[in-house]
Point group: C2
Chain length 343, copies 2
DNA sequence: ATGAAAGCGCTAACAA
DNA sequence: TTGTTAGCGCTTTCAT
């Protein structure tokens, strides 16, 4: 039993009131003051709008104005709590300014990411982009910059890119975390990191790790670093830990992100490995698990709320003031190393 | 140094090839066969499209066809892992059929939810809706049904609603979980649940809890149930646990969702309460934390993947075949109680 | 096998 | 203070 299936248009409002749709449009867009529309007509129109439950058709508005009030958000995986928390903040902030996010997961796949970007920019006509990029090369995003399209990089930045960004100092954070392990007595520490290794956060974490070793007189070699492929974390972690531990080579382990850490923790509990007695262990990305596990896990906490709110703030600035500002914001937020029981 | 700032339109393709835009449109929409367009022209058009990197403007297409290939997804909180996992699946499935999700959080706020629904339907022109509703009354969604608008309820259903739905049998799941505690020797169990209490999942969990008590000869009274307000989980959990435990009334605790469980676990660890020795504890919604915590937490696991994939499948059916099917799909998926160390 | 033209709902320049 | 009109980019009906 459908009724009134067609949504009212601006024309319906105008006709039923015997006024022009210009007028209605003005009311919708709060331009009655600007054009000197009388209080009375404004009220009449507003009442009719409420009565019919009219809402402007965004497709039409987008087509006409070229502005969509949509922002594209691309992250590697929306179900990773690190990203879903950031996204939640972006959603809230965006809404306050009338923007809606279109959220997409890139699956750490460069090609997919590029397709998503094009889809969002050219098909969905988003007004701006917030991007945690998995690309290896800043040049691949040059087409965005060339178009003067508002885009802010978050979490992962691209070296050589002149896009504004919101990130943390991964190098320093990893340095501090590693140093803490060294001070607890570790002599041979392995970093379990993720491939592709060109991702800025990963690269910086590795650098900070290496610097800490060297500063503290523990020589760093590439053997200290194991790359785990994103697509097969669990198996790869198991295999590599087997090798590392059988040869009994390491007394400390640093997981470069929360996914890897969870795989390690499964390994520990399955193999009844005692942490921190047999092996000290820390991770990047603080997640709930780390506060409650046995032992609790020391980790680098990232300011997800700030990352979220700054990323929209920076994008909004681009949206309102254009992308031609001489010095683009590059925001680096502080992290915090939370020392717990694991190492 | 912007270049070529304007995106190519269907007209640009047509003009540069000296053909009509009808033709180009046909090519874009794979209708060349249908209209008997020659191979050669099709190829020519396709090449030009590739050359210019043309992508059809969705706003224009939406305006013209009335179809947006957008689906609205509303959940209480996108950063809750239970929902973000479901959403990830929906995103993937939808993409395979050319749909993009617009994801929104309702914050357990009925009014906000209703506004989001209207915004998505009337402004964004989404083609369908996937809804984990926080409403108290099926009638509030009648306007959706009356319009014949495709909408599927997930996770939470509305009693008396004739919308299709994808959910789990919360009553049975809570029954089984509670029964397990009873079998472990609990005599006085409290259910820590969430308000508003009219939400179907919450109501059913309470019913299953009550039934288990009664079936096993432990009388159920409303005193066994504590409602925690969504907005202030931590404080309220702390206060209520203080009361419950000081009077030393309970030997078992059932957290009705993962948010509440986390607050309880913080309480336990802060107050050095021994679980399960001093208090047995279980939860609804299995999350990573439960597998690694000390002790590990027994919990009801919900099939998030299936919820996600079924919800899009059901919506797709509505999208393709209309909402007039006599018997709407009401899908109930199995849960699994995972017994761990906590109770 | 291809083209012309109308129109989706809206905004904005211009007219009155 | 209000109305007329063109046109955003696309699909689709009707012509040819």
């Amino acid at each position: 039993m459908k009724e009134n299936t067609k949504k009212p248009s601006i024309d319906d409002i105008a006709k039923s009131l015997g006024v022009s749709k210009t007028l209605v449009s003005m009311v919708i867009n709060n331009k009655t003051e600007k054009y000197g529309i009388s209080e009375k007509t404004r009220k009449r129109v507003e009442e009719k709008i409420a009565e019919l439950g009219f809402m402007p058709n965004k497709a039409a508005r987008r087509l006409r104005t070229g502005k969509s009030f949509l922002i594209g958000v691309i992250v590697p995986d929306i179900s990773n709590p690190f990203y879903s928390k950031i996204i939640r903040i972006i959603e809230d902030k965006a809404q306050l300014d009338g923007y809606n996010p279109m959220i997409c997961s890139s699956d750490e796949d460069s090609e997919k990411e590029l397709n998503l970007i094009k889809m969002l920019m050219d098909s969905q006509q988003v007004d701006g982009l917030i991007l945690s990029s998995t690309l290896d090369n800043a040049a691949k995003l040059d087409f965005i910059t060339k178009r003067g399209f508002p885009c802010v990089l978050i979490d992962r930045v691209l070296s050589g890119s002149n896009m504004p960004s919101v990130s943390v100092d991964n190098e320093q954070a990893a340095y501090t975390a590693t140093e803490s392990m060294i001070k607890s007595g570790c002599k041979t520490i392995a970093l379990l990191t993720i491939s592709p290794g060109y991702i800025s956060t990963i690269k910086e974490r590795k650098q900070g790790f290496a610097r800490a070793l060297e500063v503290h007189g523990l020589s760093f070699t590439e053997k200290n670093v194991i790359e785990i492929p994103f697509q097969d974390i669990k198996n790869s972690v198991y295999e590599n830990l087997d090798t590392l531990l059988k040869k009994n080579k390491i007394d400390g382990l640093f997981a470069a992100n929360n996914n890897i850490a969870l795989a390690c923790m499964e390994y520990f509990s399955e193999k009844k490995l005692k942490v921190p007695e047999q092996l000290k262990f820390i991770s990047f990305d603080d997640i709930d698990v780390f506060r409650f596990s046995a032992p609790t896990i020391s980790a680098v906490e990232q300011p997800v709320e700030e990352i979220g709110s700054w990323s929209f703030k920076v994008l909004k600035d681009l949206l309102e003031n254009g992308t031609n500002a001489p010095n683009k914001a590059k925001i680096s937020l502080p992290t915090r190393f939370i020392k717990r029981k694991s190492g």
